[in-house]
């Protein structure tokens, strides 16, 4: 259910809702248009190239390069207990960019624009409800932490 995505979710209904199901199971999905093959991340139901509504998910590797970042200190409603947090924008290997928190495996003084990162699915473990997200971690970090 798409409302699982994010501690505070503003768009519970979407044609790409299964994204959250896959994320809960440890997979991050982009979308591919079944008519013309155009890919997109974040996934979208309606093709921006050929306007077809026929799409499928495909799993991205999660490999990315950091494009820019900021540390948010003044936080909006719903996020004050998490502040400060670092938001990063990274260029994905396959297609598109991703915006996510920079996670625990990367120390603040290690952050550099251009560094390699790995996008990793995460579960908000101290919330009783099922809530999932993804974060930017050191390359080699995996969801199952084996």
């Amino acid at each position: 259910m798409f409302k699982w995505f994010g501690k505070v979710n503003f768009s519970p209904f979407t044609k790409v809702a299964d994204f959250a199901q896959h994320l809960k199971e440890g997979h991050i999905m982009g979308s591919r248009c079944k008519t013309c093959g155009a890919t997109s991340f974040p996934p979208r139901a309606d093709c921006s190239e050929c306007m077809s509504g026929d799409f499928e998910f495909f799993e991205i590797s999660g490999k990315a390069k950091l494009h820019t970042y900021t540390k948010i200190v003044a936080a909006p409603t719903g996020f004050q207990d998490l502040a400060p947090y670092i938001v990063g924008v990274a260029d994905l290997e396959e297609t598109g960019r991703i915006l996510a928190w920079i996670g625990e495996t990367i120390k603040e003084d290690e952050i550099k624009i251009g560094m390699d990162v790995q996008v990793v699915p995460q579960i908000f473990d101290e919330l009783e409800e099922i809530k999932v997200y993804y974060s930017l971690e050191k390359p080699g970090t995996s969801w199952t932490k084996m």
Binding site: F5, G6, K7, V8, N9, F10, S11, T14, F41, P42, H67, T68, Y69, T70, K71, I72, V73, A74, A75, P76, T77, G78, F79, Q80, L82, A83, Y85, V87, V89, G96, R97, I98, L99, A100, W101, I113, Y133
Partner: protein, 386 residues
Amino acid sequence: MSKVGIIGIGHGVFGRRSDATVQELAFEAFRTAMDDAGIERKDLDASVIGSVPEYHKQRSLAGVINEYLGLIPKPAWLTEVACASGSAAIRTAWMAIKAGVHDIIAVIGCQKMTELETPEILALMGRVGEVQWESIYGTTFPGYYSLFARRHMHEFGTTHEQLLKVAIKNHYYGAKNKYAFFQKEITMEKALASDMVAAPLQVFDCCVNADGAACVILANEDRAKEICKKPVVWLEGMGCATASMSVLRRPNLYSIPSAVEAGAQAYEMAGVGPGDIKVAEVHDCFTIAEIMAYEDLGFCKKGDGGRFIEDRQTYIGGKIPVNVDGGLKAKGHPIGTTGVSMTVEICKQLRGEAGERQVPNADIGLTHNVGGIGQYTFVHILKRED
């Protein structure tokens, strides 16, 4: 097709206006503009309101303003494109007059923001990117511009001090503007010591939410020449463009593509280039935004924005005075009003009414009004009739 000109201007005091409702604020500016134009309400054909509704408890603002101003049963409607709503209202009125549907239209930018608490405002304003994929990470409006700032610094070596020089300039001029929220100058020391908002942007890099209204009266060429006793200011170049809502789909994060596009349209329509502009109002919601504006509008080369302000090129006496009414930084940014406020200032400059903030020989001016994080930009070039 006839030209469209501005025949009356009005501006209210910006600040925490807990003394007034949004319609009362609108009336202040409207009254001034009508007196300035020397017309009566019966002369108006319609009104267009620029405002962002979600900050008000009152629903459907256009009707409320229209009624309070005493304009029933004239046509009235709202235009909303985030912080560019004021310019959108001007463009809409311009289109209606150019098409010959109406002759004289009152454009009112009005906004109350302080009906909400700061974390609520942060949350609401932060939802200006792509909510579905970004707001779950607690993104904020200053947060988005910080992403731009970091990238700009990475690409061009822009420094935080250079950013703060924009704030220092704007407060210098805001101190001379009786309508501005802040009328005190600031120092580099004070700015550097201010609280962090979203690194690297600190409190003094950020414009402040404010309440306020401004009004311009637009008329077609014939009526303008017939009515207006003061120099008419003509809308000569009207540029408008959009860009992705999301930082994930911009071609780069160190410029605002809709501003570049809108600027190019405006220059072409007005038949001028960046070097011809004598005075400009740009959208400095954050210090980095003004630096990117210098570059996006071609006042200086891409990447040179930091040096441009460092060399004081945007003070009066420099290459192109920018935001000499205090800009969003010192005036405050009642978001729906700003586009109209910028236009009022340019009209003052072009008419020679700007007092100690007057730019000498100002005959061509420019307003650059950006909505949200750059998903909409309106660039208007105004010329004084000679």
